[in-house]
C-alpha cells in the first residue's frame, strides 16, 4: 500500500481528477444540504412572516413558537420513546431473521433454495390490498398492539436479496471449512456469516431503521385509538393536520362552515412541516454516521485472508 500511495502522487492526471472530483462534491453538498437549511430556517422563523416567502437558509424573524407548538402535543415525548423502541427492536429482529433466511437461500445444496427464494421474491410485486391486510391483522389479534409494528415486517425481501448477494460473494472455502470442522448451519451462520457480512448488515439495518422510524401508516391503520402506542411520526402528522385549517373537498365549497370564523393561529402548515422535518429526521439521520465505520473498505475479504 505504501508504494502504491507514493506512485499515485506523481500523476498529474490524478491531481486533475481529484480537483474536479472535489469541486463536484462541493456542488453536491450545496445542492443536497439546501433543503435542510431551508427547513431549519423556516422552522425558526415566525410562521406568519414566512408566508411572505423568500426564506432561504437563514431565519428572518427568529422564534421558537413553531417548536413550542409541536412539542405542546403532550404525547410527543412518549411517542418518541415508542418510535425508538420500534426502531431498535424492529431493526434487530428483522435484520437477524432476514439474514438467517438469506443464509438458507444462499446455500447451494439447500433443496428448497429456489422455492423459498421465489416465494419471497414474488411478494414484492403484488399485494392483496388494504382491506384484506387489515382484516388479517384483526384476526391475528394484532390490532392495538405493539407487535403490529414488528411482525408484519419481519422479513424485508429486498434486504434478503441484498444480504444473500453478499453472502454469495464470500469465498466458498470459509463455509466449507466450517462444515468440515463439524459446525452445523446455524453455527456457521452465527459464527462465520454474520461477522463477515457486517457491511451488508449495516446497510440493511439502516434501511430497516429508517423505515421503522418514518412509518406512521400502520399506526394510523391499527393503533390510532391507542395514545400509548402512538409514534413520533404519527403525532407529528396529527399536529400537521390540525394546523392545516381548511379541508375543502373536490369540486366546490366543501366544509366552509367549519372555518367560517376568523381564527388566529401562530403557525401555518408550512412552518409546522418544516419543524416536523427537523424534529423527526435529526435523530434518525444520526444513525448513518454511526454505521459508516462498518463500511470499511476491504474489510470482508481482508479479514479472512489476514
Amino acid at each position: 500500500m505504501e508504494q502504491a500511495k507514493s506512485a499515485r502522487n506523481f500523476s498529474i492526471g490524478d491531481k486533475i481528477f481529484d480537483v474536479c472530483n472535489i469541486i463536484f462534491m462541493i456542488f453536491l453538498i450545496i445542492v443536497t444540504l439546501y433543503p435542510f437549511l431551508n427547513m431549519f430556517a423556516l422552522s425558526f422563523n415566525d410562521a406568519n412572516d414566512s408566508i411572505r416567502g423568500s426564506i432561504y437558509v437563514w431565519p428572518r424573524e427568529w422564534t421558537l413558537r413553531n417548536f413550542e407548538y409541536v412539542f405542546n402535543e403532550s404525547n410527543v415525548f412518549y411517542a418518541t420513546f415508542i418510535s425508538a423502541a420500534r426502531t431498535i427492536i424492529g431493526t434487530v429482529i428483522s435484520v437477524f431473521c432476514t439474514a438467517m433466511l438469506a443464509y438458507t437461500i444462499s446455500r447451494p445444496e439447500y433443496a428448497l433454495k429456489k422455492f423459498v427464494a421465489i416465494t419471497f421474491i414474488f411478494t414484492m410485486y403484488f399485494s392483496g390490498g388494504l382491506i384484506p391486510s387489515y382484516l388479517l391483522t384483526k384476526e391475528l389479534g394484532l390490532l392495538n398492539s405493539f407487535w403490529v409494528y414488528i411482525i408484519p415486517g419481519i422479513i424485508g425481501v429486498f434486504n434478503m436479496i441484498v444480504i444473500r448477494s453478499f453472502i454469495e460473494g464470500l469465498p466458498e472455502g470459509i463455509m466449507e471449512s466450517a462444515k468440515i470442522d463439524g459446525a452445523g448451519d446455524f453455527t456457521t451462520f452465527m459464527r462465520i456469516v454474520l461477522p463477515l457480512t457486517v457491511p451488508a448488515l449495516a446497510t440493511v439495518s439502516l434501511f430497516v431503521a429508517v423505515s421503522q422510524w418514518n412509518s406512521w401508516f400502520d399506526v394510523f391503520l391499527y393503533n390510532s385509538s391507542r395514545p400509548n402506542l402512538s409514534t413520533l411520526q404519527y403525532e407529528l402528522m396529527k399536529v400537521l393536520s390540525t394546523s392545516s385549517a381548511t379541508t375543502s373537498s373536490g369540486g366546490s365549497a366543501g366544509d366552509a362552515f367549519a372555518n367560517a370564523q376568523g381564527n388566529v393561529t401562530a403557525v401555518t402548515p408550512t412552518s409546522v412541516r418544516a419543524t416536523m422535518t427537523i424534529v423527526a429526521s435529526v435523530p434518525i439521520i444520526m444513525v448513518y454516521p454511526f454505521l459508516q465505520k462498518y463500511f470499511v473498505k476491504g474489510m470482508v475479504v481482508g479479514g479472512v485472508k489476514g
Binding site: A4, F36, Y103, L112, G129, I131, D185, A200, T277, S281
Partner: protein
Amino acid sequence: MEKHAVQMAKSTSEDSRLRTLFKTLSKQKMLMLMSLPFLIWVVIFKYLPLWGWTIAFQKFRLAKDLFDQTWIGLDNFRSLFQEQQFYLVLRNTLVMSSINLVLGFVTAIVLALLLNELRKVYFKRAVQTISYLPHFISWVVAANIVQTALAPEGIVNVLLLRLQLIDHPILWLGVGEYFWGILGVTEVWKNVGWNTIIYLAAITTIDPTQYEAAEMDGASRLQRMWHVTLPGMKPVIVILLIMNLGHILESGFEAQYLLGNGINVEFSENLDIFVLKYGMQMNNFGLATAAGMFKTVVSFIFLIAANNLAKRMGESRLY
C-alpha cells in the same frame, strides 16, 4: 410407516423423486428450521390476503360479506382498458419510470465510484452524510422547494438569466414537455445519496489486492475504477436492476401529484394518480384492484424476462 413404505415402492418415478427430496431435506433439518417459520409467515402475511383480488371481479361494497357481493366478471378490467385516458397514463408511467430507472442507476453508481476515490476520509464521510439528507424530506416539502426554485423569479431562472443562456424567464412547470426532465432531476436530487449507500457497501467487499495488482500493471485511476471497482459492484447492480425492472409500472406518486398542474397534466398523470382519481376517491375498489393485478402481471413479465436474460448472459440473477 411399514404400510407407507410398501405403497411408496409401488409409486411412480415422480414420487421417488419426491422421496429423494424428503431424504435430502431430512439431512438439511437445520436449514429447514431456519427458513420454515418464515415460509409460514410469508404465506400468512403475503399470500393469504390475496383473496382480496376477488374484489376486481365485484361491484365491491365494503359493508357486505364476500358472498353477498355483486359479481360482475371482467367489467372492472373492461372499464380500465376501454378508458382512453388509461393509455396516456400508461405511456407517462412507462416513460417516467424508465427515466427514473436509468438516471437513478447511473447517477448512484457514478457517485459511489467518485466517493470511493475521495482520499480524505472525513470529507468523504461528510459528503456521504449530507448527500443522503434530501431522502428524509417529505415530498410535499421537496416539491415546494422545486416549485420555488423553478418560479419565474426562482433561482434557476435567475442563474440562467445571469449566464445569458436565456433572455426571459421560463415557466418551467408551465410547459408540459419539460415535466419528465424536471421529475427525473428532482428524483435524482432527492435520492442519489440514499441510493449510493448500497453500492458503497458493495465496494467494501472488493479485495484490496486487486487494486494493488492493477496498480502494479500501471493502470490509471479511471482504469482502476473501470476494471476493478465497477466489476466488483456488478453483481449488486445486476440484481438491483432486475428487481427494479419488476417495478416498471411504479413511477412514484407524490412527486407527480404535487408537481402536476393543469398545463402539464398530459405528461404528469401516471397510473397511480389515475387509479386514485377513478378508483380510490370514488371508492371503486374493484377498479383499483384490477389496476393492481394488471401491474402485477406486467411486473412478473419484466421480472422473469430480466432474470432469464441475466441467466443467459451468465450474470448474477435474482433466483
